[in-house]
């Protein structure tokens, strides 16, 4: 009996210790529905969001949109994409910016703005909760829990 209680206690702590992300919905990487890209690999998405590549496989210029640190989707996205904490993502960008190489993607404050950005830019690409993706955009990668 005490063993079981200890086990349950352990499990509860373990669950509490997990990032909130694990308990919530999937994230979807979405692109402009007319950009001609149907699917992307995780590594291709990493290339675009870390500013390494500025185009899709079909040579359309990629125009990524990120979210502000204050929005929980941002932390979930980078954690699911590469296992990285926001402090590490921001450290990465400080290297890119201050070496004069590149600037990070534009940041917006909520999912509707992400969808608007993606729909209004020919090469738009962003991330939203999977349930929010609508006809204006196409899901190219789902980031499972």
């Amino acid at each position: 009996m005490p063993t079981r209680r200890l086990f349950l206690l352990g499990i509860s702590f373990w669950l509490l210790a997990q990032p909130g992300a694990a308990l919530r919905a999937e994230l979807a990487v979405v692109v402009n529905a007319r950009c001609g890209v149907a699917a992307m690999t995780r590594n291709e998405v990493i290339n675009v969001f870390f500013g390494r590549s500025r185009q899709f496989f079909n040579s359309v210029e990629a125009q990524p949109v990120d979210m502000l640190d204050s929005h929980p989707d941002r932390a979930r996205f980078y954690y699911k994409l590469l296992g990285k904490d926001l402090s590490e993502v921001n450290a990465y960008w400080s290297r890119q910016v201050f070496s004069g190489r590149s600037q990070p993607p534009v940041k917006v404050g909520n999912s509707e703005e992400v969808l608007k950005w993606v729909a209004s830019h020919p090469g738009g690409i962003g991330f939203v909760e999977a349930s929010r993706a609508d006809a204006r955009v196409r899901v190219v990668l789902e980031l499972a829990n």
Partner: protein, 390 residues
Amino acid sequence: MWRGALVGLLALLAQPACAETDSPFSLQGFGTLGLARTSSDQVEFVRDLSQPSGIRKDWDGRADSVFGLQASWQISSQLTAVVQGNVRYHYDRSYDPQLAWAFLKYEPTPEWSLRLGRLGTEFFMMADSRWVGYSFLTVRPPGDYFWYLPFYSIHGGDAAYSVPLGDGLVRIKAFYGESNGRVPLADRQWDVEGSPMSGASLDYYRGGWHMRASYANIRASNDLPIAGVLQAYSPNPTASAAYLSTRNQRTDYYSLGVVYDQGPWQVQFMLNRIEQGNNALESSEGGYLLAGYRIRQVTPYLGYSWVHSRGNNHDGRPFIEQRIIADSHSDQTTSIVGARWDFASNLALKAQWDAIRGDASSIFPYRNEPASGRWSGRLDVYSVTLDFIF
């Protein structure tokens, strides 16, 4: 003139709000407040050979403290102007503001990036962000690897081409320009202004992996500032000066690097080889292995680095020549233990212990070494830094 232009430009660019997403202007900054002390008064520890004096047994802020400000102006979707100034301890023993970069970047297609102006050079991986403490794990870039690289920028241009390979990416870059620096040596300065530098690198990125091979060289425009010493101590100053001449001699820099940065792990493995085309400085090989593992906000790390130099055979040369050559000798390893704590957004606190163990003759990385050219070869360096970006 550079300084006036810098202040004017920053004042001009400082007016719009920072980092507005829809503004073509942005003003960003970085900095480090650092304190360090060592376990010995025999030699002075420096961050790299651009620093004319270093730290001893008392807590000292000069080695690692820096403040930088960068303004960029997106002129069009393809053209950007970038200016960066910084304040830190530099070769002339002052903290005068310096213009680090001032260039135009032109990106005619998603594959190409061309830059022209005063640029950072990437002789080794991450060499162009060595002062942005927030961007890396350790207190400072491992010394055994970076000591030998006092050059930061060129007046010139570079071109980079990126092309997908599988779902990874290949980036090829080449640069050419003239050095604009000076290197402090003893109580003098080696003027390397106008020395041509060129180089190329090949990068491969895939997921959390980044691999890089690079080659670069510099052809020094001047001799070392040793004429006075040779005049005083050499039996034949003219012959000695010719033997130790660096003017128009080429130094080659080769490097290989692998970085794995995914999940809680951050691992770096780098190797370099520096071949001196002159008799005055010894060629060297160095490297480091660094591994960190993030546990929530804290990333403890362990590292090991080394540098060994070897001289040509100078048998029979006058004593003073051998002494000058011996000044460029290094033969040591460093064990690194530390932790980075990301305690708040855009702020990091780090503490690190470097245990340097070397041969008594390993004096090139230090300042104000004993007149005998020998020391204990053992040095512990304790450092704390607060890094920030905004």
